[in-house]
Symmetry: D2
Subunit: 352 residues, 4 copies
């Protein structure tokens, strides 16, 4: 049973609402008692009703899609920015100061603008703003998020990896060397643009690795882990494309320090995330599955002793569109407005 | 944005909670402000926590599964019965009079106990109770449902077929003869029992018809259509098994009366369902897709002029586990307790 | 066990080899003892090895893709034309007379150039050649195919529909009126071009109708059925997009003449197709499934008495890329060169 | 183009033909010029035609399924044994001496009977026969296989892992320590028995690990790698269940010796497998995908420098039912009878 009280309405714009993360925000906000969508943009679809672009949302009363320059940002309290990386920095830099922003792109995730330039192929276009941006891995940076004006919402892979690893590194329970991440993602992570590689016929009944040792989420992961380890961390990171629409699993191979085992690591994570509404550390023997988080903001974490002594296998699952994108964005926005963090995120996983 | 007010708690038992419809009820009730699950049964899984049987529900506080005879029905206000057909009649007949019941099995759907015996292979075991049962196609039988103690929740196929056809037959816009229903269902309609035919390997990348001209939903459909047409209707009904977990489409081929066309039929249905929260008649040219109702209680209906003169093609889509089962069950239960019909059913479709 | 004897090599070009039907031809021809691929074209991929465009074919020795005007057609005995409709007519008209052609596009399928113009939106560009073209539904037109220089290879839907219906209409066993075809296709029928509608995320876990009463295969079906019935036939034809890569089922609802039933229709089709290597009429009670023909040139047909008297339900399944395209094309080419019809087509269905 | 000459017929029995590996053998043998299936067993399906158990094979002339004790093994030259582990040892021990055997179960794969007992929970029932068994990883043990009477066909995971790793360990190019294998398999690897965990609804749209650090293929992999390294190897091995029917990828994380890199490892493997018909080492940058080997006996191997210095990522893909089971079994049987190794295995991958 849920309860809700009358709340002051907060006016929200979604920039780039014609993609999957935009649509997912609309789905979640439909059950939110305080945030109200008053503007949505989609440059190539400007002028169209959202119900045309996403017929599954036709049951809602929503503003039509408009071009960004048609939005009156003075009348907006908050912005979810779902634009492609590259264009985002300038758009956000131009927003009025009273607007709070959660940016779902990669544009403000890397603290170091040189690292950004190196991985994204162009200079950072809003370096001053970068300094104010808070990296919004909610469970790790809750206090900073609550005070932030601009939150860089973490990438999906980095979310699934950092949630288990950051506490373990901070507490010195695992080595910072030789961290191997084998990650698997559903296709929705690739967005809605029409590419041959993402056709049903190209993806169904198959798996392959991609971006091996060159995926842009690697520096983001390393940034978080380096901070936690207080020393530079380089990870092995190999994502795979799966024949499913949603869901992400990171299988992480780590070496423990001292006599630590899966049991002690599990205990540490369980203690760390005890009060968290969205992170669950599973008991011994229980195996996380992406289908157990589908459509929800949960992250499930399982830990297993490896056959190789001193090694532990960690599996972490999220819905890439929820905790890996729009759900965490909403969680952060709730925090930024002093609202209960779970508002709009009470939906349970959908299975089967 | 949703609003909820403090409501009197209604204590609910779910009988047969270890199947997919039981789990789906739990998912929906998690967002319900008044109905509270106080007992759940699962004979073969008695003693287990629900989170063991359905790990995706581990985030909820739920009673453990028990055997039916362990439930104190005196402490229960309402029952959702998700037991297999055959066993249900006796179980429900034994419930105390104060308990309101929505039965998701087929056991009370056929008014005529002889027809039941003929299609289900044994005598009806609660014929007296059958006379009190209301067939709960909500949009068609709202008033009776509101007053009922026992509601027979419609089957998934019959729901998707009767919603468009009953009004059209009642208004004499289509002929009662030669109604052809080509239906397609996701695999979850077959339940969770381990059968070779429902293995991933047997279902993926394929389609086939089943129960051709012999499916048990045929007499249920014919009962509703005959009532609407005020004359005996025999339908052609061919279900197909699809490589997807959820979703159901009925493609229905009808002959119109007089000069009626898709346009006039559409107008009639649009008028009939105008105030309905869960039924949407799509505008000309728009095509219903199961992915646009996934996880929601919606039914979308589209109508198209056929190339053969005097014929119209109607497509109707639902989520078989929601409007085709647990969602409609909750919709009915809300009505039976005088609650807003949409409580617990506000979740939007999940796409992709 | 198969046997093969030394055969004279026949040099074959595949025009438009960068699409799925081209790749499928390569797969089939890899096991063909007489046809040898000596040229392959793919305008946008000219200069690339086939193994780059289709890595699954990297095990074969194949010529690189070239532009059409780079092919020396004097050195070629036969052409499979897999180009998009519209461009095909002129390309084929320009081929030297000694070249035999199987055209997999729709460009030569409609005998009547006015009907072509009406459905395809432009005048026919090779009307003289149209008169020589043979419509290559092999089992129906074997003799003409054997003598043809240019064969118009049937569409996938028309193949699955005409194989059962043509003999029944010719023998007067079913009515020519009120034929209703509810067809379901895998996504590969849409080809390899990058369209949002065919993304994995848009197709998986869902079904919808498309081209309702307006699909271009309707006139092709009607042409064949009209010929068989010796009177103009208009059909109801509704295709659906399925979440699978390959496979096609047509569920066909017909009215029988006289006292005919599924049994008499089955007997007639069984007799008609008795000697056919690729068409199997299933015994009473057996249900065709697309997964039972996957990757093969088979067509399976099942017949069932309907609940409505005088009606029969026919289901017909093929692999849309094999019997519905490249397999039938090869079957036809074999015939045109006096080779055993099954050469290169002995591969059994792949299941699961 | 293929060529085949008249060959002496070799009579083959398939024991346990009612499972997926049995059916796959039938599919492959349908194109084999010398091996002829003269008996097939399936205890619970004894008396049934194969076409009833596997309708996709109905186009072939095949003996009906019988019980094992009904087979006249005097009239049989060779046996493919597809029985479940545990029962296999005694069945094979009872076969007449003239019969050559490829056993697809795990029963003779582990040289050390104590290791067998430890992982399979019972004493080995034919320890003498174990000593004669040859572990049939064809490319590694070709000479022994050719002379063997009894070949233990490798497991699917061990095949995909050992093909790249054995040569690298033998040549001292990688370290024997800290080998991490993250493997992904289609559902067909679990066989055809009806288990809740393998239902479509439980597998589709999801991924999870299973048998973490406890899968029975671990000791088999370690046996092969230890032999190659000439020292005891313990691996980290984590299999995952994928929502696809066929296909297997092993992503393997290794440390190189000396200054070795992906390039030098690639060169070594390319040289080692140069003459192999079924193993392809991909050029730099090319990524193996399971869909590129579907239905074929190929193994594709790709190598990539990791971001962590001194590390290389190897991905290896096979079709678990072909190179991972029935295809390799046939490859071995060909060798055992002095036939060309590729007979019956010329079928190209099926894509899409």
């Amino acid at each position: 049973m849920t309860e809700a009280v009358a709340m002051k309405e907060i006016k929200v714009a979604i920039l780039g609402a014609s993609g999957y993360t935009g649509a997912e925000l609309v789905r979640l906000l439909a059950l939110h008692p305080a945030l109200k969508i008053t503007a949505m943009t989609g440059d190539r679809k400007a002028g169209q009703p959202m119900a045309t672009v996403f017929p599954h949302l036709a049951g809602l009363e929503l503003p039509d899609l408009v071009a960004i320059d048609q939005v009156d940002f003075k009348a907006v309290d908050a912005v979810f920015c779902c634009l492609p990386h590259g264009t985002t920095q300038e758009v956000i830099a131009a927003l009025p100061q009273h607007v709070k922003i959660v940016d779902l792109s990669a544009d403000f995730r890397l603290f170091d603008v040189d690292t950004y330039a190196q991985w994204y192929g162009h200079e950072h276009r809003a370096p001053a703003l970068q300094e104010q941006a808070v990296y919004g891995l909610t469970e790790i940076a809750r206090n900073q998020v609550a005070k932030a004006r601009l939150v860089a919402n973490p990438g999906c892979y980095p979310t699934s990896v950092q949630l288990p690893l950051v506490p373990l590194l901070e507490q010195g329970l695992i080595l910072a060397e030789d961290i191997i991440i084998d990650a698997k993602s559903g296709v929705s992570g690739a967005g809605r643009s029409a590419k041959e590689a993402n056709l049903f016929t190209e993806v169904a009944e198959g798996i392959h690795a991609y971006g091996v040792a060159s995926h842009r989420h690697a520096p983001e992961i390393e940034q978080g882990l380096s901070q936690a380890a207080n020393s530079p961390v380089v990870v092995s990171f190999t994502p795979h494309l799966m024949p499913m629409s949603r869901g992400m699993q990171s299988t992480i191979y780590v070496k423990t320090t001292g006599a630590n085992t899966a049991a002690s690591l599990r205990a540490a994570l369980a203690a760390r995330f005890k009060a968290e509404p969205f992170v669950r550390v599973l008991p011994e023997g229980a195996v996380p599955a992406t289908r157990h988080v589908r459509g929800s903001n949960f992250c499930l974490i399982g830990l297993f002793d490896d056959r190789i002594k001193g090694r532990v296998i960690i599996t972490s699952v999220i819905d890439n569109l929820v905790k890996g994108a729009s759900g965490q964005a909403l969680q952060n926005m709730n925090l930024m407005f002093g609202l209960p963090e779970t508002l709009g995120l009470e939906q349970q996983p959908m299975f089967p």
